[in-house]
């Protein structure tokens, strides 16, 4: 079985400061991992994905995430927050046999950017 835990339901940072959104996963096999972003009343947009290549993955809008197998983590970071980054972020794990559709979504982290 697989699972994903987003450790913070809300994160608040000031504009221009670093962002860290934490995600831990549990997987019996080598997983694929994704981060999605959702702005209010919009669909989810893929930020980045890890599929067993480089452990440091760069995504859109300056975000990146590092796959750490020993810590079973896939934290999302950005060096400098922008007001437009305010949104809901979802960590997702995928593995073969992990479920009907193979994807398990975290409950989301709401990112707040203070001016």
């Amino acid at each position: 079985a697989q699972s994903v835990t987003q450790l913070d339901s809300h994160v608040s940072v000031s504009e221009g400061t670093p962002v860290l959104l934490r995600c831990n996963y549990s997987s019996s096999y080598s997983p694929s991992l994704f981060w999605y972003v959702q702005h209010p009343n919009k669909g989810l947009q893929l930020l980045l994905k890890y599929t067993s290549a480089a452990t440091l993955v760069k995504g859109i809008n300056g975000f990146e995430a590092e796959f750490k197998k020993s810590e079973t983590s896939f934290h999302l970071t950005k060096p400098s927050a922008h007001m437009s980054d305010a949104a809901e972020y979802f960590c997702v794990v995928s593995q073969s046999g992990g479920g009907a559709d193979g994807l398990t979504f975290g409950k989301g982290t709401h990112l707040i950017i203070q001016p």
Binding site: S32, G43, S94, D101, K107
Partner: protein, 112 residues
């Protein structure tokens, strides 16, 4: 490039009325298709998925149903809406079950 459409964007319906939400995908063939519901302040709940025409799998028992009459068309329906059916409905597609999914813009459903 691939695009995914959903309509309507918003919908307000009385309790007990029928429902039909439509999702279409362009630019790909034989996609895996998914319907999710997102209740206020909560994560995503997978409702249905389909690996091909006429092939529907349900994840959660409810008064909703899904159909896939064409390769790139996915429809979510209900004969009688409940208050608890209110939420944000998202359609998504993927190339393979384990791949990343690409989401449509969503439909905001309010049942009164």
């Amino acid at each position: 490039s691939q695009t995914i459409h959903q309509w309507p964007a918003t919908l307000v319906q009385p309790v007990g009325s029928p429902l039909s939400l439509e999702c279409t995908v362009e630019g790909t063939s034989n996609p895996n298709l998914y319907w999710y519901r997102q209740a206020a302040g909560r994560g995503l709940q997978l409702l249905f998925y389909s690996v091909g025409i006429g092939q529907i799998s349900s994840e959660v028992p409810q008064n909703l149903s899904a159909s896939r009459p064409q390769d790139r068309q996915f429809i979510l329906s209900s004969k009688k809406l409940l208050l608890s059916d209110s939420g944000f409905y998202l359609c998504a597609w993927s190339g393979q079950p384990r791949d990343e999914q690409f989401f449509g813009p969503g439909t905001r459903l309010t049942v009164l």
